[in-house]
């Protein structure tokens, strides 16, 4: 056991947390006479534990679509998304719906650009939900949600309110907290700082650094250069995968 552990640590090229190979995606718009919109093809990159990879390229290049395919939110026309799953590897492109839901609970989290609000559920409960799904006791999950919201400077008077009436920046901080609270080994970030001021951007950058230190792999889209430079170890240029 000890040998296995030490060899894992010293291995120069440990298996990546995420290996994307030859991913392709196009949309067929049946309401527009079957118009076919190619998005990307041949997308290939790896992300190691403790590494943050930024997807670069102009808007419309397919960055968000790539994140959504990795998360199982968009279908994958061709290629594979191989995700480390304990001692095994699962291909998201081939995984059944139940399997994808399990991966989302335990292996990957996603911070979308916009929060999908659930009626009547308070911000703190929205944030705590992924921990509850992991089996963390409710009181602990709520305490950690509160600590994270506090760190992201969301005023305490908002914690129990449903985020429907929050400002864009407040909703984004709830979304960031929900994405970062779990212990998944892959974190996907779609412009996590787009509506945030400088102080809160700095908090997100610090949170990313902590995730990396814990061995989490991250893939992000960062529109502002400052955040990208602070958070990402390297940039994968998506324009070379244009379909």
């Amino acid at each position: 056991m000890i040998t296995a552990l030490s060899s894992a640590i010293s291995a120069p090229h440990a298996d990546p947390v995420l290996a994307v190979r030859d991913l392709a995606k196009s949309f067929t718009l049946h309401l527009q006479g079957g118009l076919k919109l190619p998005v990307v093809s041949g997308v290939s990159f790896d992300v190691a534990a403790g590494e943050c990879v930024a997807l670069g390229g102009p808007s419309g290049a397919g960055k968000s679509s790539i994140l959504k395919m990795i998360f199982g939110n968009y279908r994958i026309d061709a290629g594979s998304v191989r995700l480390a799953d304990a001692d095994a590897v699962v291909d998201v492109a081939q995984a059944a719906p139940r399997e994808i839901l399990r991966l989302r609970q335990h292996r990957m989290a996603y911070v979308s650009q916009f929060l999908r609000v659930i009626p009547r559920v308070g911000a703190r409960e929205v944030v705590a939900e992924p921990l509850l799904a992991e089996g963390v006791p409710a009181s602990q999950a709520i305490a950690r949600a509160e600590a994270l919201l506090d760190r992201l400077n969301l005023p305490e008077r908002l914690w129990r309110l449903p985020p429907a009436t929050f400002s864009g920046g407040e909703q984004q901080r709830v979304n960031v907290a929900r994405g970062f609270i779990g212990s998944q080994s892959l974190l996907l970030l779609d412009e996590p700082t787009a509506s945030l001021d400088a102080a809160n951007r700095a908090v997100v950058i610090a949170l990313i650094a902590e995730k990396k230190a814990q061995g989490c792999a991250l893939v992000g889209i960062f529109h502002d250069t400052e955040t990208r430079e602070a958070a990402a170890d390297r940039v994968v240029d998506v324009t070379r995968f244009s379909a």
Binding site: H30, N73, Y74, R75, I118, P119, R120, V121
Partner: protein, 258 residues
Amino acid sequence: MTDAPLLLAEGLTKYYGARLGCADVDLTLHAGEVLAIVGESGSGKSTLLGLLSTALDPSAGRVSYRMRDGILRDLAALSEAERRLLLRTDWGFVHQNAADGLRMAVSAGGNVGERLMAVGARNYGAIRAEAADWLGRVEIAADRMDDDPRTFSGGMRQRLQIARNLVTRPRLVFMDEPTGGLDVSVQARLLDLIRSLVATYGLAVVIVTHDLAVARLLSHRIMVMKAGRVIEHGLTDQVLDDPREPYTQLLVASVLAA
């Protein structure tokens, strides 16, 4: 998480005379899983729900269910007594029209207690206490316990129907447009209640709805029906965010954003 499905349908087909209700539907449902069946009126989704819940007899195909003893049984092979016991204990059915699922002339407490008595509960005080507890869980005030549901609003009636169904701790609940015809604010409260009860009790649910927002909020998986056939199915957010079939694209594009 066990890999044995709770409910299994194979080749389910129903004709009403010459008219097709639904054709060749296969599905599996696992414990704790919520499956939404969506489609417009006449798409066959209510027929499918009727077939799954044994309210209708299939023209072809079969439905199997994993009983509490762990054995998967063909529902058509159950005796009438076994089938009725299943319906009263391990299954629930929440109708769109509460009057179809409640006894309107019986008190709210009686409506909940009746299902307990049907499975053998006899102690009046215990039944009343359990009924009161369940009315509380569906947010019906204790002082309404002895009122009959004719005096209840639409939303309260639906919540009472849910309490009546859940009191026997079913593992599988069928829901037919449970929020249909309710005001949006009442809908939101009911949806939130259903969402939390499903999570708390690990219920498996088959829910028929024409409302894609309801499907998105409650379900893990979705089946889209058109003209009696399942034309698209998969992970709910994937089907709704990346619909493949022309009809599904039309449904998704037709939703008004508030």
